[in-house]
Symmetry: C2
Subunit: 613 residues, 2 copies
Amino acid sequence: MKGHKVVFQPDGFKIMVPQGTNLMKAMKESGVDFDFPCGGARKCGKCRVRIIEGNVQTDILEETFLEKQELEKRIHLACFTQVCEDIEVELLYKQPSQHKVLSVTEERVVQIEPHLSKRYIEISKPTLGEHLSDWKRLQKSLFVEDQAASLDISIPILRQLPEVMRSAEHTLTAITYGGEVIGIEPQDTSQTLLGMAFDIGTTTIVGYLLDLYSGREIGVVSTLNPQTKFGADVISRSNYANQEQNGLEILHDTVIRGINKLIAEAVERAGAKNENIYAITIVGNTCMHHLFLGLSPRYIAKAPYIPVISDPIVLNTSDIPIRINPAGRILVLPNIAGFVGADTVGVLLAAEMDKSEEIKLIVDIGTNGEIALGSKEGLFACSAAAGPAFEGAQISSGMRGALGAIDHVFFGEKLEYSVIGEGKPQGLCGSGLLDVVAGLITLGIIDKTGKIVAPDKITNPEAAFFKHCIIQVNGKNAFLLVKEEDTAHGRAIMVTQKDIRELQLAKGAMAAGIHILMEKYGVGVEDVGEVLLAGAFGNYLNPHSACVIGLIPKELEGKIKMIGNAAGTGAKLALLSVSEYKRAKDIADSVEFVELASYPDFSSIFAKAMYFK
Amino acid sequence: MKGHKVVFQPDGFKIMVPQGTNLMKAMKESGVDFDFPCGGARKCGKCRVRIIEGNVQTDILEETFLEKQELEKRIHLACFTQVCEDIEVELLYKQPSQHKVLSVTEERVVQIEPHLSKRYIEISKPTLGEHLSDWKRLQKSLFVEDQAASLDISIPILRQLPEVMRSAEHTLTAITYGGEVIGIEPQDTSQTLLGMAFDIGTTTIVGYLLDLYSGREIGVVSTLNPQTKFGADVISRSNYANQEQNGLEILHDTVIRGINKLIAEAVERAGAKNENIYAITIVGNTCMHHLFLGLSPRYIAKAPYIPVISDPIVLNTSDIPIRINPAGRILVLPNIAGFVGADTVGVLLAAEMDKSEEIKLIVDIGTNGEIALGSKEGLFACSAAAGPAFEGAQISSGMRGALGAIDHVFFGEKLEYSVIGEGKPQGLCGSGLLDVVAGLITLGIIDKTGKIVAPDKITNPEAAFFKHCIIQVNGKNAFLLVKEEDTAHGRAIMVTQKDIRELQLAKGAMAAGIHILMEKYGVGVEDVGEVLLAGAFGNYLNPHSACVIGLIPKELEGKIKMIGNAAGTGAKLALLSVSEYKRAKDIADSVEFVELASYPDFSSIFAKAMYFK
């Protein structure tokens, strides 16, 4: 059987499917965020896609739903479409008000409720008979509508007040936050109020520029976390912070500089200025959160993994030199535990786990995987120390999901694979490794203990073609994926027995975490209504492969949905709405964190979870 | 009639009295703060004084009240004592709980209620099963007694938290202010909590070091305001701030440096450290207040005299680089208007004007005199632009009340005077000028228009001896006080016609202010129960002279009391008690400020007030 590549636009999301697969089925199984209003019954004619490249097979019945001009534009309905070669597809249908696709993120509709308010006011001029202080007259002008209690003001703003007031004939725009006037600007600037939401990942920082009045996303910027040069993962960053001279300050300054560069890039692209940004929200894992704040991650990195703070915290630009309007506020979302950070809170907020009627499982796969399970009745979360296998590290041919990485593998009539950026492959990234191991399990080439079976013991006829790929490396079986003459660097790309053991450790940790959360919650897989895969890795892996290797329970395969950078979505929601920011705290407070290491029988659950069933 | 000098210890306060004056009478008239429980009826035997130098005449009846040992120690009762030569007297009797004499300040008893709280706590250590953040565990420990809502904490304190907590086995001292943990110190430091109260005068800065637990005054420090080199008065300071490059920053830095020097001096003398000081209160006139805060005084200095802020304001050490504990708070008392500042609020607080049953008049004499009138039924205040005559400026032989100044003058059988620091005189300070003019009015040498009468027109026989002192200067009469051979510099010290005109302008402004406040309040002099003279000048002048020239209405002469640096007392009260600090705001808010310049008939009231009646 042949495999084909399907690329979905505008996100560039890519999957591999067997010849003749129904496009709707492929989209559902791979977790592409798309709505099928009639559930795939071919009744509504809504699941419009446009074929950008390649050809598809469809059914003549489709034409009853489509206009002639649509067919000319190569628009088809996904439910009628079969994949018979590599194709590129544009997703057209969006359910109008409930969901919209933005980047690879599922967004939800939210009532805009900015943290800061900007108001243009005209202030009475003083006379000998009416001689109130500048600040008192400013307050009186602000209270025309709002008969609230008195406001606060800080010294830096007071220092500007007399001249700002008099520079434009006693008219100005006041920026308030809570009960405090935090900024004043001459004349009327109330029409501009921008903000940025940041997701600080260990590897990547993503920033979203938003209009805080309309909620409109103006731009997205991202960069490699510049701290990477001090260590790839949170443990090495923590060590650097603790052991090197001024290590903490260096890491703190580095991430702040990185964020300032992203802000500069975002405002330049948007034709705006740093001063137009008044609010920032921050999510990140607990270590990134601490380094952003300049807090020592020392006690997160070792048992019992204690953060300095888990509560949300609001800073101003004198606390942290983020280059936005000096009046601006930096709102940091809460953490849950040392290894379940504000990013997970962002995910839970984006997914509205606290309001969910059905039980959902959220999995964010990474070196430290975060798992949450629950519904509006209660939430549990844990962190699973998966190790670096999913990132391609400590895998013989492993590499990050970067240019030249094999990201998807398909065992059809022959072995096919896709390479990021096309060209000859250089290695295998996590999602590719998952596909290989899942394929080999399906073919019976890897047994349930994880052992590569000797070619003469393989009984599955579909595996016959691949027997010659089983080679010997250091006296052990290995699976040859790409011969040396077909790689970019002239070295063979293979999966060794040791690689499989590494993957078993990683998937075992995740699976044990899922198992234990279900046990704590008192539910079985049949009770779980939906599995949400969050984060970069979750967005690129093949859910089927994840289920075959047992990373996700097999029974949940049809219920998997990819929600992309949901942490970023959470940061955006918290930026646009005070209520959502407060809700993040409520969610973080309500989550019961489960420390796997101290869970009874953890070792035996973990050991069992390493098997391929 | 001969005059004698009486010096009161421990304050060094000095008066001149005629031969044979009863000491109690002299003390009452000159406003010395002392209690006469039986009102001077020679019945209680309480008004004990010790004669340090010189001899006194007393009555044999006195011995019925005193022990033999007391008589041996030269202890007498003021009510029985007559002054017959220069004496030095120590004041012994203090009414135990209501009043005490401290420096030249009248203090009142106040319930100690510190702004900050320090608490020693033992924090639970984390485990894998109990993995709350450091901050959460700190909060829990603080809430053992106090089940209040959650607390705040700032980033700088969070940065110290993990190491401070672990440096002493999870014991520490937490410093809280309002709902915020503002400082943490390893182990138990809760026994030390110091504070300083500052009165920033245009000329002098005084600082009081207090124990915030006991209220005990540990020390007093003072210095010439180092801003003096940029201008002697508030107008020249304001001009410097507005017209010179970085003028405002320079003046701000200068006063902050001055205060930091005083803090260093105070803690060194007390054997303490800057870090032991956790709270500072500040009073000062509105211009000094603004310069301390780094706020522009530009619009205070010109009509309609608008301050940037009048409300109280609380700062921390990152707002203003005052060298105290980094956790410390700087509490600035409120202003009333551009020329009635936080120092006046301090005076009103010290005098408890807001609770007074009887109507009181408070007068703080200076270049800008502040006047307040009222009772618990209501308060009025105004500022009177007296000009520099009281400071000895623009007076031909004038000088500040410094070494070499004639500070008191007595017209007895001949002319007698006292000189600050003894020695030959160099000039005449404000209080001396007042005495001279009052004396010459009494003798009929100055008429009610302020004119020095020609020697041949003088009719009063008591004035005969002084006729030869009337000399001609630039074709006008002048009064020769000290011949050139008797001065330190060989120039005669005199009072010219022009000097008298300057004094008339100054006293006229003050008297007009008093007149207008009474008119606004709807009371006459007979309704005023007490006149409180505040500030340095008020403390040194002879109240009789002030009444003779009409600076204070004659009818109030017996009701005058000197209250010394009452502004500083107000700052101390606000430092020791949150309620007193809040009360300062209530007082400031309740005062109705009267702008003299816009008062109907101000010019004619002022013109009349310049006469000597």
